[in-house]
């Protein structure tokens, strides 16, 4: 039986070197877009519509949608919320369709959207997602959102965690050095994500903005059994 691929791509800019060879793309933006999307879908939000630009976000707002917009870690003026996972846990959001535009995460989702299947990964839904991926028996690419097309540590570690989980079943293989390195970084980080990521540039960025509670939430694995999936340009709950 031929093994399936599990690879880790570090940035949306690198996606062109991986494109076309994978059945499932897992988009990862641990701090904080994909953690927020998991929170929203877990909380009963009907769908999250990811848009790349502030202009698109404004168009949805004019049509009456609730819209989250974040740039440089902060809520964009005039929008309802940013990408704090806590914003998406409010009871009044249940059943709603909401719109989200972030610096990196929603851009990565839109870059990947031509793939057969796009799902949302974070540390918060790690094990639940990995178990589902293993059952699918398809070629999987973890697409880290990075920071403005540069490598970032927390998304790579989350990708490495997924790679490690799939590889140890013996049913998957990795060919790319980026995947091997992501796995090693996960193994070095896994006993203390919080301590390991002290040196992460984005964590430093968010700390300046007093977002320590958000960071703790996003770096705590397996708080949610949920898989958000992209269908017709909207992210919904995968029911199975």
């Amino acid at each position: 039986m031929q093994k399936k691929l599990i690879e880790v791509c570090y940035t949306p800019a690198d996606y062109e070197y991986f494109k076309g060879r994978f059945d499932i793309i897992v988009v990862i933006d641990v701090l904080r877009a994909t953690s927020a999307i998991c929170s929203a879908i877990h909380n009963g939000v009907n769908s999250v519509i990811p848009v790349s630009t502030i202009e698109e976000a404004k168009e949805y707002q004019d049509k009456g949608y609730l819209v989250g917009a974040e740039r440089q870690g902060e809520i964009v003026e005039g929008f309802d919320f940013g990408n704090s996972p806590y914003s998406y846990m409010k009871p009044e959001l249940k059943g709603q369709d909401i719109v989200l535009s972030t610096t990196n995460g929603t851009r990565a989702i839109n870059i990947a959207k031509d793939a057969p299947t796009v799902v949302i990964g974070a540390l918060t839904n790690l094990n639940f997602l990995c178990n589902w991926l293993i059952e699918q028996d398809k070629n999987v690419l973890c697409l880290a959102s990075g920071w403005k097309d540069k490598f970032n540590l927390e998304d790579t570690i989350c990708g490495g965690a997924i790679a490690e989980s799939l590889l140890k079943t013996g049913k998957f293989t990795s060919n790319d050095d980026s995947s091997v390195a992501a796995k090693y970084l996960f193994l070095a980080a896994k006993d203390n994500y919080f301590g390991f990521l002290k040196s992460s540039s984005h964590r430093r960025r968010l700390k300046k903005l007093n977002l320590n509670e958000d960071i703790k939430f996003c770096l705590t694995p397996n708080s949610m059994d949920v898989i958000p999936i992209l269908r017709n340009d909207r992210i919904e709950k995968l029911e199975f």
Copy 2:
């Protein structure tokens, strides 16, 4: 006193995100271009002229130069040698000006050539190079050559080794996650480069070509006290 920067850039494609902020660029292609260049300069070759394309290499050959050309790990037909470090140790090369074109390394050198200073790094000249870099007290970027614009493990580990060496003096700092991750990968690899890199894709590629002796040589640190430096489009020995 303000600390100087030491950062690691994973591929020539990523160089645009780093460009302009560094005084010294260290170009790294451990398997095998920069290891071969260190060998050549250490062996007394007068200069190595790095060219990006096979066409340029042929033009030099027509003018009577000895020319090395490698693509996909193999010597390009019609040229004198490829990028095996052993090819550059021959006594008849002493004092000569030779030309080299390789898949990744010479491309990285040419991408970096507008920087104030470009030097050649490998594991073979690691400590000698690091000591010199520390003395310069300038902003340093390690530019890994990668494999066709994708991340590669051995160049990243070499960059991480340089970063670790400079950071531990307390006179340098890193801001980018790529540098932090490179340092962690070096720390995981440092006691056994050969074992750690068993899973490297390029090592597998070269192993198929029966280049195990080359790999051993390139992964053995500190066999040469030499710093090749780019001056007027030629790589020469830095005398100091």
